[in-house]
């Protein structure tokens, strides 16, 4: 059984079809990417999984249980953590406190939450900055903080919304390494929505390509870059990866 199963979900906004009949599955322990040009419906799919709004039709199963229609906080409690494309740190709190907020989902005492948060900050190499206010972090560190906070809720599936956007290539490589470690050492299943092909090629085992709200191709990164429909609609004939 797959960890996440998306069955024929559709969503329209004022008659404009953003996603139509999209289906895919995410096996436990894998790293998956959803790519596609702007407006292809990536973020809409992401938001439906995260509970921001429900699909008009279709179903989403997590660990075999339907989760479509649940609210964001319920989705998180089910075991799906997410980051935001536009980072949303709790600016007035310290880095450690930011992560503690996430840890409180599974820990009722402040001491317990602090312990979990400290471990996660070490995992993401943010430990030296734990006492700084979150507002003082640079963009790459803020992106890491987003991930740390989501991880503190102990998700089985981590949703990453364009977490590489705005990063320099070296910064991208660093965070790619972080995700690879998370997946390898802790078995975290990852779904990333991404524009940065460099990161997708380096990370993902399975890739889905969206175009005009439809999944037009699925496969390994190597298959995807040679897929005629993908070349035509997204990467372009001259794609050189």
């Amino acid at each position: 059984m797959s960890l996440l199963e998306v069955h024929a979900i559709s969503k329209s906004f004022r008659g404009l079809k953003a996603v139509s009949d999209a289906s895919f599955e995410i096996p436990e322990g894998s790293i998956n990417a959803l790519i596609g040009p702007n407006g292809a419906g990536k973020t809409t799919i992401f938001n439906m999984i995260a509970g921001v709004f429900p699909p008009d039709s279709g179903s989403i199963l997590f660990q075999g249980k339907p989760i479509h229609g649940l609210r964001p906080h319920q989705i998180c409690a089910e075991g799906i953590g997410r980051t935001f494309q536009i980072v949303k740190p709790f600016a007035g709190l310290s880095v450690l406190e930011n992560v503690m907020v996430g840890a409180f989902l599974r820990e009722s005492s402040a001491a317990g939450a602090r312990k979990v948060a400290t471990q996660i900050l070490e995992r993401l190499q943010l430990a030296p900055k734990r006492d700084l206010p979150a507002s003082s972090l640079t963009l790459p560190d803020r992106k890491r903080l987003e991930v740390a906070r989501a991880l503190a809720t102990r998700p089985r599936l981590l949703l990453l919304d364009e977490v590489m956007a705005g990063l320099r290539p070296t910064e991208t490589d660093q965070i790619v390494q972080v995700f690879r470690d998370l997946n390898r050492k802790y078995g975290t299943t990852i779904l990333l929505i991404e524009h940065v092909m460099r990161a997708v090629m380096a990370l993902a085992q399975h890739v889905g390509v969206l175009h005009h709200g439809e999944v037009i191709a699925r496969g390994t990164p190597q298959e995807i870059v040679r897929h005629p429909a993908v070349l035509e609609s997204y990467l372009g004939e001259e794609a050189d990866l």
Binding site: H73, F84, G92
Partner: protein
């Protein structure tokens, strides 16, 4: 600090005691308001509602049935929490936030004021007056006695509120509230049921504020809807924490002390040289608020704490 305040009546005269009682009253009420705004980020501009309803609930029971405030306190709390939860439900269920939430709190305080104006059994616009017993015996059961008794009562309340707030801030509730205050969407994504936690903040804040009302009723002995529910009272409540530092533990106390002492000395000082200027207090509040907003937008406490290396 606590010891000094406990021993204060040994040195201070009645006037000084009444000033410190007033400071502690505003410190306590500001602390209560701070739970909602400072911790959870929900701006209430109608906290006079809870002071008024709390005062009338306990005062009314005493006035009509001779039931003392120790019983009346529970009715006051119950009514205020119920009102707070109604406001909270309307706002949070229908996503009314920020300025619109503040307007809703003002509206509730205003129409409650008008309601009480028409409530003849509680005195209506003419006011309700509690019987003043001899002021020299301590009748703790009915909360009647000399100023010293009220001083210690509000001192204990203040200490209790400080203890409660500092515990709340260090617990899960405090972290969740601050997360909601900083970014509600991110808080939801971390599994926080923001509706429920905001309701909890409103319940605690309104319950605490209702106690201010009970104290007010038995300390001043007269209640007028026009005064107690007035929006200027709501503003007076929030000035202390705003000037001291919203969301901090000591801001409400520091702000209340500064405002009360300075405004009192200005009025007294001007009166001493023969200038009686009506409304000078309000002008002073305005000037101080302007200064703090412009130069210390986080209030006086945070930079002061840094200077004293408390943080």
């Amino acid at each position: 600090m606590g010891g000094a305040l406990a021993a204060l009546p040994l040195f201070a005269g009645n006037y000084a005691l009444s000033v410190v009682t007033l400071i502690l009253y505003f410190a306590y009420t500001g602390q209560a308001w701070n739970v909602m705004m400072g911790f959870a980020g929900q701006l209430s501009l109608g906290h006079a509602l809870y002071v008024g309803v709390g005062a009338y609930a306990a005062g009314g029971l005493f006035f009509h049935y001779g039931i003392g405030p120790w019983a009346g306190l529970w009715l006051a709390m119950l009514l205020c929490v119920a009102l707070g939860l109604v406001i909270g439900f309307l706002a949070f269920r229908f996503s009314i936030s920020g300025v619109y939430f503040a307007l809703l709190t003002i509206a509730f305080a205003e129409f409650t004021r008008i309601g009480f104006d028409h409530l003849d059994s509680l005195g209506g616009p003419g006011g309700m007056f509690l019987k003043v017993a001899q002021r020299d015996t301590w009748d703790v059961l009915n909360f009647r006695g000399p100023p010293l008794m009220y001083y210690y009562a509000i001192l204990v309340l203040c200490g209790g509120a400080l203890g409660l707030c500092s515990w709340l801030l260090r617990s899960k509730a405090g972290y969740y509230w601050q997360a909601i205050r900083e970014n509600e969407e991110a808080a939801q994504a971390l599994g926080i049921n923001t509706f429920r936690w905001k309701m909890l903040a409103v319940a605690i804040s309104s319950a605490m504020t209702s106690v201010s009302g009970v104290f007010f009723a038995f300390y001043y002995n007269n209640l007028f809807p026009e005064q107690i529910f007035n929006i200027s009272r709501s503003i007076e409540i929030i000035l202390g924490p705003v000037i001291g530092g919203v969301g901090t533990l000591f801001g409400p106390i520091l702000g209340a002390a500064l405002l009360t002492v300075l405004s009192d000395s200005i009025t007294e000082g001007l009166a001493a040289i023969g200038w009686e200027i009506p409304g000078i207090k309000q002008v002073f509040y305005g000037v101080v608020l302007l200064g703090v907003v412009m130069f210390l937008p986080n209030g006086i406490w945070p930079p002061l704490a840094r200077m004293l290396r408390l943080k």
